[in-house]
């Protein structure tokens, strides 16, 4: 399940809703991304997340479906916010639930790594040096590259 929204989300409620009545679930893994107050050494006052409505939903749906295909998940959720956010605010939530913790961990890690390089969002930071578009990071590309499937492999690439 995916959602793209301007408003904040409640992590506890999202997890509870996802696992409610699903008693085959043994483990839930979640990741919450927050706005940091520092970027490249400069103080950040706020950040504006721009996205591409339509493509965002389509890409997130595809990413979510890929996780469901590659891991035995009972449920999964991606919530991504857009608009103006201040330091400390939540940006993104990924939740995965499975009978087994390993699948929950791997799928959650995959989802955040994957969406960082695929979902059409762009961050504009208001810093003490003015507004700056965040540059894509090599480390994010490398993190995503770990999850590229080899022929016949379904897990994390070692």
């Amino acid at each position: 399940m995916i959602r793209v929204q301007q408003e904040d989300f409640d992590v506890g409620k999202e997890i509870a809703a996802l696992s409610e009545g699903r008693r085959e679930i043994g483990g839930v893994c979640c990741f919450v991304g927050l706005v940091r107050d520092i970027a490249g050494g400069a103080k950040v006052d706020a950040m504006t997340l721009e996205h591409y409505p339509g493509m965002t939903e389509k890409q997130l749906e595809a990413i979510d479906a890929e996780a469901q295909r590659r891991w035995p998940l009972a449920a999964s959720l991606i919530v991504h916010r857009y608009g103006r956010l201040e330091p400390g605010e939540r940006i993104v939530l990924v939740v995965t639930a499975s009978a087994h913790r390993e699948a929950a961990f791997e799928a959650c890690h995959f989802l955040i790594d994957w969406l960082k390089t695929k979902a059409p969002f762009w961050k504009l930071e208001d810093t003490e040096h003015g507004a700056q578009w965040v540059a894509a990071r090599d480390s994010d590309d490398k993190a995503a590259a770990r999850w590229v499937e080899n022929t016949g492999s379904t897990g994390k690439v070692k």
């Binding site: 591409y52 940006i91 993104v92 695929k118 979902a119």
Partner: protein, 83 residues
């Protein structure tokens, strides 16, 4: 065709979107981008460094050789930085 720009690419072009009818030789993403560079100094500046330009046709990422058609929605943007 409908072109949409995002982030600093949008700011350099100076437009969020535009409808264009390129000449007949524009058949793929590569030739579309080359033609777009000739439209204005803003377009040229935005598309100068191709290593940081990404293209989606009808909401799917595509390589430079991907064909483009008059009724396509074509988005041009820098590498994504969400999450």
């Amino acid at each position: 065709m409908k072109l949409i720009y995002f982030a600093w690419l949008r700011m350099r072009v100076g437009l969020a979107e535009e409808n264009v009818t390129p000449p007949g030789h524009v058949r793929d993403v590569q030739s579309l981008l080359e033609w777009l560079k000739t439209r204005s100094p803003g377009h040229a500046a935005a598309l100068k460094e191709m290593s940081v330009v990404r293209v989606a046709v009808n909401h799917e990422y595509v390589p430079l050789g991907h064909p483009v058609k008059q009724d396509d929605e074509i988005a041009i943007f820098p590498p994504v930085t969400g999450g």
